[in-house]
Amino acid sequence: MEMIIHHGMAILLCLVGFHGVFFYGNLAKKTVAWALFQIGLIVFLYSLASSGAPLPSVLAIEVASVTLVVTVLLGLFCVKLYRRHKTLEGAEIARRGSK
């Protein structure tokens, strides 16, 4: 139980993120949800780093930089799609694209 409380925040973030990736139809929301999942993992690492081991904080930095780059890339996809279709609803864009 103690460990669940210790890592609870990280797990909740992961779950919210995971749910959001599937649940939302809006591409920007999906991107944010994926980033939340990753942030959950980073929080998990920081809670491990409290023991004084250097590896978790190093891994957290690297995960954070990868998350930043991929989130920006996904965000740019969203901007590109919004400029073209004036919407970010995935289903709507797909429908217009197949016409």
Binding site: V21, K30, L41, F44, L59, L74, F77
Partner: protein, 504 residues
């Protein structure tokens, strides 16, 4: 320099990628040759590692001189080197089609250098996945391969922004789950080195952690294993040139299957562990789920969709081998993996070569009478089809032969029925397909003549599938046996199974 071959194999395509991009600014042609050069040089480097690999066994290489688990280790086994050669050959073939048939592949000249550069990054990241022995590094290269793959998609396809987004998002969720699995393993063992994780799990007898992390690590590959199923990737299939789809379906997916094998049998296979009944049932369902795709493949009227279903369905054989987990089955899995990589790439390339257009419909009915019009092209298709069935002397036959042997050794009648029914079904479908290829029809069905330069790589792939079968003993002895879990390498057959169900 020879002692640094493992890192050079990864560094050369990466360096070539930068050079291709730079030179592409001045000359497209030179940049194309640099891409070829980097791929061929990497091929030769892998080839040069074989004398040491075959005489001394797996090659452990500590990066920066730091011994594992403190540093990062590359482990080149004869099998991973062999798979690397297949990967590089397919990358060469893909780039050949991109370059020489740019119009068919949908690649603009101005994008060729960028395409070459991204292909080299993708190749380097996939090679790293084959060799690296650290969970976190594996994550980084997995993410890198996805980003490069998205780039390649953007390079060759038109109006693919939405699908590119889904490809990157869906693909990245897999590595995130992998990361979650490895972080839990790290929190419980204090290490990210794959072999060390197994040792620490065994010392702590932490079976529940192995099972739960195993489920997360299995979920990682969900996206990879369903690529390019027409159910989930309909738009992508219609918009991406078949050459690129072939490279991704054969290499991206089969490297993922190899990593899945490594994780199951070299990281989570803790001796003494037993898995719950519900998990076993789930594994059986998963295998059957993949086999059902063979029925969908047979029902398709579009050749590309049918090949896409076949690519996914064949993974069922690998899952059966993983469930059984004995020596014969795992030998069959690795043999089947090699054969599937070649066959899937070949079939997608055949779709591209036979229709000679980047996108759109590829009706199977157009193949009627192909054998009378172009015998060699039809023969190649027949070889691929019968390798999927498991007909001698193809590589696919020996893969399935060892898997069935594994089933019989374990007396698993449920799997025997599933595999047997699948093979019979595929035999009937392949016979009907062959009949279609050689049936006597009026010339309305197939007109276009296929240039030899377009067919040559296909012929090479078909020949390799046959050679894999003919020299199966050598392949098993030299490449597959040293890649099996340690319990199997000095035999005779202990029954160490999927997630360590039972250990003798």
């Amino acid at each position: 320099m020879r002692e640094h071959l493992p890192i050079l194999i990864l560094a050369v395509p990466l360096a070539g990628s930068g050079l291709t991009l730079l030179v592409g600014f001045f000359s497209y042609r030179l940049s194309r040759w640099i891409t070829y050069g980097a791929l061929i040089l990497t091929f030769l480097l892998v080839w040069n590692s074989f004398p040491k690999l075959l005489s001394e066994g797996p090659w452990h290489y500590s990066l920066g001189g730091w011994a594992p688990p403190w540093g990062i280790e590359l482990l080149v086994t004869p099998f991973s080197a062999f798979l690397a050669l297949v990967l590089l050959s397919l990358a060469l073939i893909t780039f050949y089609y991109l370059g020489h048939f740019g119009l068919i592949a949908g690649l603009l000249k101005s994008r060729e250098s960028l395409g070459g550069s991204l292909l080299l990054v993708l190749v380097s990241s996939l090679l790293a996945q084959l060799f690296v022995r650290d969970g976190f590094t594996l994550y980084l290269f997995l993410e890198m391969s996805l980003v490069a793959a998205v780039g390649l998609h953007l390079c060759v396809a038109r109006n693919i922004w939405l699908d590119g987004f889904y490809f990157l998002l869906g693909g990245s969720l897999g590595p995130s789950l992998l990361l979650a699995g490895f972080f839990f393993l790290y929190a419980s063992t204090g290490t990210t080195h794959l072999d060390d994780i197994l040792a620490q799990l065994f010392i702590a007898k932490n079976f529940s952690m192995a099972i739960t992390a195993g489920i997360l690590l299995t979920a990682t590959w969900g996206w990879h294993f369903f690529f390019p199923s027409p159910i989930f990737f309909t738009r992508l299939l219609n918009q991406t040139p078949p050459f690129i789809l072939g490279f991704f379906s054969s290499i991206l997916v089969r490297v993922a299957a190899y990593l899945f094998f490594i994780l199951l049998f070299f990281v989570l296979n803790v001796p003494g562990m037993s898995q719950p009944f519900w998990l076993t049932a789930l594994e059986y369902l998963l295998a059957v789920f993949f086999f059902i795709d063979f029925i969908y493949a047979a029902k398709q009227k579009d050749f590309l969709n049918s090949v896409a279903y076949l690519s996914v369905a064949q993974l069922g054989f690998l899952f059966v081998g993983f469930i059984l987990g004995n020596k014969s089955a795992l030998t069959g899995v690795l043999m089947e993996l090699l054969s599937q990589t070649l066959v899937v790439a070949g079939l997608f390339i055949a779709v591209g070569v036979l229709s000679l257009k980047p996108t759109g419909a590829h009706p199977i009915s157009k193949l009627a009478g192909l054998g009378r019009h172009d015998f060699s092209a039809a023969l190649v298709l027949v070889i691929f089809a019968f390798s999927i069935v498991g007909f001698p002397p193809t590589g696919g036959f020996f893969g399935k032969f060892y898997i069935v042997q594994g089933i019989l050794e374990k007396h698993d009648w449920v799997l025997l029925i599933a595999v047997g029914a699948t093979i019979v079904f595929n035999l009937v479908t392949a016979a009907r397909f062959t009949w279609l290829l050689f049936e006597h029809r009026k010339a309305s069905s197939f007109h276009a003549s296929i240039p030899f330069s377009a067919k040559a790589p296909l012929l090479v792939l078909a020949l390799t599938v046959l050679l894999l079968g003919v020299f199966n003993q050598e392949v098993v002895h030299n490449f597959i046996e040293p890649a099996l879990p340690k319990a199997f390498t000095n035999l005779p057959v202990p029954n160490v199974p999927f997630l360590g169900k039972q250990v003798e």
